[in-house]
Amino acid sequence: MQLAKVTLIAGDDKSHSPYGIPADWYMATAKAEVAGFTFSQLKDWLPGLVQTLVKHEGGN
C-alpha cells in the first residue's frame, strides 16, 4: 500500500497542494434544492473518479 507523504507547512513550491485550505470551505445548497435541483452525493462518485485518474496515471 502506497501512502501519501504529507507535510504540514514546509515543503518546496512543487509540493504545495492546490487544494491547500486553512479551514473548512464549502457551501449549503438548500436554495437550489428549493428551486428544484437535486445534487449528487459526493460519496457516490468521488471514489470512482479517483480510481479512473489513478488508472490514467499508470498506477494500479
Partner: protein, 243 residues
C-alpha cells in the same frame, strides 16, 4: 431557444454546449479562436476577444438571445462591458461564479454570506484582483448594472477526467511518485462538483425561472485527509478506505 455561450470549448463549458445541442436549442459559441470548435456545424462559432469591447459590440450587432452563458468572466471591467453590450439583446445571463467569493473561514456558506447587491464596486481588470475578488466584483457589477435577469452560479472546485487544471491529478501523481504534498490543514473539508453536474446545473439555471446567486456543489464535503486516503486506496489493492 437561442443560446450564446462564452467559453464553451472545454471542460464543463463544452458539456454545457453539448447539453444545449441535445435539447434542441440554437447554440452560438464565442471564443478567441485559440481552441478549435469541437461541435462543427451544430453551432454558430463567433471568433472575437471578449476583452475588446468594440469588436464584441460589432460582432453581436443585430443578434438576440434567450440565454447567454458567461463562463470566462473574471473581472468587473469584463462584466460591465458585457452587461452594457447585452442590453436589450438577452432575456437572461448565467454567470459562472465561485465558492471563492466566500472566505475560507470554517463556516458553511449560504448565498447571503456574500451579497453582491450591496458590495462596493471597485473597477479593474483581471490582473487587478485575486481570483475570488475579481469574481465578487464581477457579480456586484452584473447584479447592480444589468438590465436583464442574472444568475450567478457559485461552484466549488470542478473535477472530471478532462480537468485541464489537473489539480486532483496533482495529488494522484505525488502519491504515485512518492513525493511530498504540503498543505496547511489536513482536516479541512472541501466540496466538489463534476464537470457533468456543473453543466447540468448551468443548463437548469438558464431554462428555469430563477435569478440571483446560487450555490451548486455535490452534497457532502470531504477532508483532505480522506481524499488522500481515497487515492492511497485506489493505488493499493487493499481494503476500502473508510470514509
Amino acid at each position: 431557444m437561442k443560446i450564446l455561450v462564452l467559453g464553451g470549448t472545454r471542460f464543463f463549458g463544452k458539456k454545457l454546449v453539448e447539453l444545449c445541442i441535445q435539447n434542441g436549442h440554437e447554440v452560438t459559441i464565442l471564443t478567441r479562436g485559440q481552441s478549435s470548435n469541437p461541435f462543427g456545424n451544430q453551432v454558430l462559432h463567433l471568433i472575437v476577444d471578449r476583452n475588446d469591447a468594440n469588436a464584441l459590440t460589432q460582432i453581436l450587432d443585430g443578434m438576440t438571445w434567450d440565454i447567454v452563458y458567461d463562463n470566462i468572466c473574471y473581472s468587473p471591467n469584463e462584466a460591465r462591458d458585457l452587461a452594457k453590450i447585452l442590453q436589450s439583446k438577452t432575456k437572461k445571463l448565467v454567470f459562472t461564479s465561485t465558492l471563492a467569493t466566500y472566505e475560507a473561514d470554517g463556516v458553511i456558506k449560504n448565498e447571503a454570506d456574500f451579497d453582491p447587491y450591496t458590495f462596493g464596486i471597485r473597477m479593474g481588470g483581471i490582473d487587478d484582483f485575486t481570483y475570488g475578488e475579481g469574481k465578487r466584483q464581477a457579480e456586484a457589477v452584473l447584479f447592480k448594472q444589468a438590465t436583464f435577469p442574472v444568475v450567478a452560479v457559485r461552484f466549488p472546485i470542478v473535477v472530471g477526467e478532462h480537468d485541464y487544471t489537473r489539480r486532483l491529478h496533482f495529488h494522484v501523481e505525488k502519491i504515485l511518485n512518492e513525493e511530498p504534498i504540503s498543505l496547511p490543514n489536513i482536516d479541512a473539508k472541501m466540496s466538489f462538483i463534476t464537470d457533468d453536474e456543473a453543466a447540468t446545473f448551468l443548463y437548469f439555471a438558464g431554462i428555469s425561472a430563477i435569478e440571483g446567486p446560487f450555490n451548486a456543489t455535490a452534497t457532502g464535503p470531504i477532508s483532505l485527509k480522506d481524499l488522500l486516503g481515497l487515492i492511497e486506496d485506489a493505488i493499493g489493492e487493499g481494503d476500502t478506505y473508510s470514509w
